[in-house]
Amino acid sequence: MNIKLKVWRQKSAKEKGKFVKYTLENASPEMSFLEMLDALNTKLILQGDDPVAFEHDCREGICGCCSLYINGRPHGPGEKTTTCELHMRSFKEGKTIVIEPWRSRGFPVLKDLIVDRHAFDKILIAGGFISNEAGTAQDANSILIRKDKADEAFDSAVCIGCAACVAACKNASAMLFVSAKVSQFALLQQGKVEAKQRVQAMVRKMDELGFGNCTNTYACEAECPKGISVTNIARMNREFFGARIGTQKS
């Protein structure tokens, strides 16, 4: 198939970017989206042009590197799919495919389609952990956890940190990301000791970094490649208000 592309090109964080049009002949519907970009880059390199910079690593949907905004959607068309799992069979020949980086104040562009998602680490540094040091743990089976709770915690824990939720949100809110981590630990016995400080510290950091609020459009859930549910946000809100009441009492 012949592909028409419109790709965001930006030399560095300091320079202004613009869309550039490309065409790619002889692409195959069986190619993954990133393999299509590989082919484009091969063509550009051999022509003496700069290839398009994009972030990628595992190419099997688990590392969370890929971050392309394709035809107005994070990770492009397809339910619960990362960009690297997307295949060209999902696109019609002849229609232009528009590729942009994540657009959010929290994630400045470094080059072309690569953004800096360091803000996510910062939020987790504020409290996304259980303070357990190596060598201090008791036997793992001394903590019994109901299977349904453990499964629910797992469903929250599968977040790959790609930030599609922020890119999808008109408020650039990071609530789905933060709430998934808060939920994972809130659902598990091990996480309860620090639950109050955790949710407060993480929410504070999230606000400080300029991420927006949640206005319940559910775009984040719709675009999350791992299907993380907005019920996590509701749980985080409960935890957050509960923690504030608790703090005021003490």
Partner: protein, 639 residues
């Protein structure tokens, strides 16, 4: 010439590690703050080590080439992590786990290290659980286990098909906590390009800032490499495409010996190669063989759809050849068996290079829901890549490059032959002999990082408390930086006509064909010539665009591929030297009448440790003789 000393502590096997821990030298808390440790790589081994060393109070500087430590390729490990908990009450013990690993590695690993790995496995599960890793549980609330290849007990802890992700995120959360506390400084988007050795000791690294292109100098009292394996040398592999062998290679060229480089695991179940432009192969976890049955048609070239082939016309070749272990044979055995059937013309799919992995019986017995619960995400991944729903028809799988048992040679302290340079996780050669058993990679990484390196590095650093911070303006840093600069300059000025990736593909093909699942002398010699020729062509005709002072992904790749050419020659050299078959290393000249690997204990019961001997000179070979005092060395049979 350096003499190999594995520094195995005296005493009975079961007491070595306990004795070591109670007698090694310590560093008092006030002095720990004054000691700098450089740690490269943030997979499970690196992240676990970073958090533990930070908790101890050392000043830790951590480096990764990704944008955040959470993306390291441990994240993609699927099936599970082993431990000798014996929660299933099925006869497991530390000794049995140790024994399975020694046997699984075809008697080519060091007893003391393997025993210790088994010994700390239980504490690892406790640690990860306490950190909030949501392992699968039973209805009673206890942790669940499943079986993996090459063993007859259920000792594998898992979190669906995302165990690596969950373990890594657990370790990463501990690392982040230390960053918050200020004991760990994180340098992401940095690639280590050179090791700095001063007065014979590892004292620093040169990194390239991958955003600005700037070369940076970092010093420390010790350097720990947790940089993973070099499986991407085959180009197509189950690894993340940016995984590479360059940090280990830099260490090798500075004097760290390389152990058993030819021991590469080809995993039996990956989604097969579908086309020419494919950039990677997706693993389908070994855990699937708990419930999936592997088969090919009994008739050569039978092109009927799998579901149309009646039961009595199917050859469940693993169950046929290995009745005791059936579909759960170890990976090397499973891979060769698949290759044998496909080479003989029984393979399925368009290319004939695939076999069926069928869940029909399991679904009939346990119901679709149960299978979905165990492997749901794997079935989804398979469908996304191939468009095939494997609840309805069998998966097609084929072997793919996966894991490197070989790596930097280390002693019992996990220290390389360069004092002060340690290697942990997949980057060392230590625990898996000639073949790794499933779910023991996460186990080794976490054990190395959480429980072993904090002790052994302390023992080393106890003698360094009088060494002041190392200044980075020393001539050794200058020189190391110059080496890096020159290489980058050379790569950017060739301005040839072929892309880096096209060279990488061709290199991978040579190694896959002649130094992959099976090897023979003529093929290896031929491969050596081909690699040398291709390498020369690379340095004549590669095209690397843009400049050094910017984010330049092609330049990053070019440096890695340049190193792979050199590593490839060492891999082939090692494979040529070892004329026996053992584990994943199958020399066609050395097989039994039934086509099984034939070991030669009289001549090859050793670890090969290669020493760099200068540009274009053959490397020097050292041998570490393996002594087995606690297991009886037998023919490795799964029949």
């Amino acid at each position: 010439m350096i003499k190999l000393d594995s520094k195995i502590p005296e005493g009975p096997l079961t007491e070595k590690w306990t004795n070591y821990r109670s007698s090694h030298k310590l560093v008092n808390p006030a002095n720990k703050k004054k000691l700098d440790i450089i740690l490269v790589g943030t997979g499970l081994a690196g992240s676990a080590a970073a958090s533990s060393l930070g908790e101890l109070g050392y000043n830790v500087k951590v480096f990764c080439f990704q944008d955040t430590p959470r993306r390291a390729h441990s994240v993609a490990a699927q099936g599970g992590i082993n431990a000798a908990k014996n929660y299933k009450h099925d006869g497991d013990s530390v000794y049995r786990l140790f024994y399975d690993m020694i046997k699984g590695g075809d008697y080519r690993a060091r007893e003391a290290n393997v025993y210790r790995a088994a010994e700390v496995s239980n504490a690892t599960i406790d640690q990860l659980t306490a950190q909030g890793v949501p392992f699968a549980r039973e209805y009673g609330g206890a942790l669940d286990n499943r079986s993996f290849g090459g063993v007859q007990v259920s000792r594998t802890f898992y979190a669906k098909g995302q165990t690596g992700q969950q373990c890594l995120l657990g370790a990463y959360s501990g690392l982040l906590r230390q960053i918050g506390k200020g004991t760990v400084t994180m340098y992401s988007r940095r690639e280590m390009l050179e090791l700095v050795v001063i007065d014979g000791k590892a004292r620093g690294i040169i990194t390239r800032n991958l955003v600005t292109g700037e070369l940076e100098r970092h010093s420390g009292h010790a350097v720990v490499l947790a940089t993973g394996g070099y499986g991407t040398i085959y180009y197509l592999s189950t690894l993340a495409v940016n995984s590479n062998g360059s940090a280990a290679w830099a260490a090798y060229k500075k004097g760290a010996f390389f152990g058993n480089p030819s021991f590469v695991q080809i995993h039996p179940s990956s989604i097969p190669v579908l086309n020419d432009y494919q950039s990677k192969l997706t693993l389908m976890s070994e855990s699937l063989r708990n419930d999936g049955r592997v088969w090919v048609p009994k008739k050569k070239g039978d092109k009927r759809p799998a579901n149309d082939i009646p039961e009595d016309e199917r050859d469940y070749y693993l169950e046929r050849r290995y009745p005791a272990y059936g579909n759960l044979v170890p990976r090397d055995v499973g891979s060769r068996a698949a290759k044998e059937r496909c080479d003989a013309g029984y393979g399925v799919g368009d290319t004939g290079l695939a076999v069926n992995l069928d869940f029909k019986d399991a679904i009939d017995k346990q119901g679709k829901k149960a299978i979905e619960n165990k492997y749901g995400n794997l079935f989804e991944m398979y469908e996304k890549t191939t468009g095939i729903n494997s609840y309805e028809e069998p998966m097609r799988i084929y072997p793919a490059g996966h894991y490197t048992m070989g790596g930097l040679w280390v002693d019992y302290n996990l220290m390389t032959t360069i004092p002060g340079l340690f290697a942990i996780g997949e980057s060392n050669f230590s625990d898996h002999g000639a073949n790794r058993l499933g779910a023991s990679s996460l186990m080794q990484c976490a054990g190395d990082g959480y429980f072993i390196i904090p002790n052994t590095i302390t023992s080393y650093l106890a003698d360094e408390i009088r060494t002041p911070r190392i200044p980075v303006d020393k001539p050794e840093f200058e020189e190391a930086q110059k080496t890096v600069q020159e290489k980058i300059h050379k790569l950017l000025t060739i301005n040839g006509s072929q892309t880096v990736t096209s060279f990488h593909k061709r290199l991978g093909k040579i190694l896959w064909d002649y130094c992959g699942m099976t090897r023979n002398e003529a093929g290896l010699k031929k491969a050596m010539g081909m690699v040398e020729e291709l390498e020369q062509e690379f340095w004549r005709d590669v095209k690397v665009p843009a400049t050094a002072n910017e984010l330049n992904q092609e330049l990053e790749k070019a440096g890695r591929v340049a190193d792979f050419f050199e590593l490839a020659k060492l891999l082939v050299t090692d494979a040529l030297n070892r004329k026996e078959s053992c584990g994943a290393h199958f020399r066609e000249e050395s097989q039994t009448e039934t086509g099984e690997a034939k070991r030669d204990d009289r001549n090859y019961s050793y670890v090969t440790a290669w020493e760099y001997n200068g540009e274009n000179k053959p490397p020097l070979m050292h041998k570490e003789d393996l002594k087995f005092e606690n297991v009886e060395v037998k023919e490795r049979s799964y029949k």
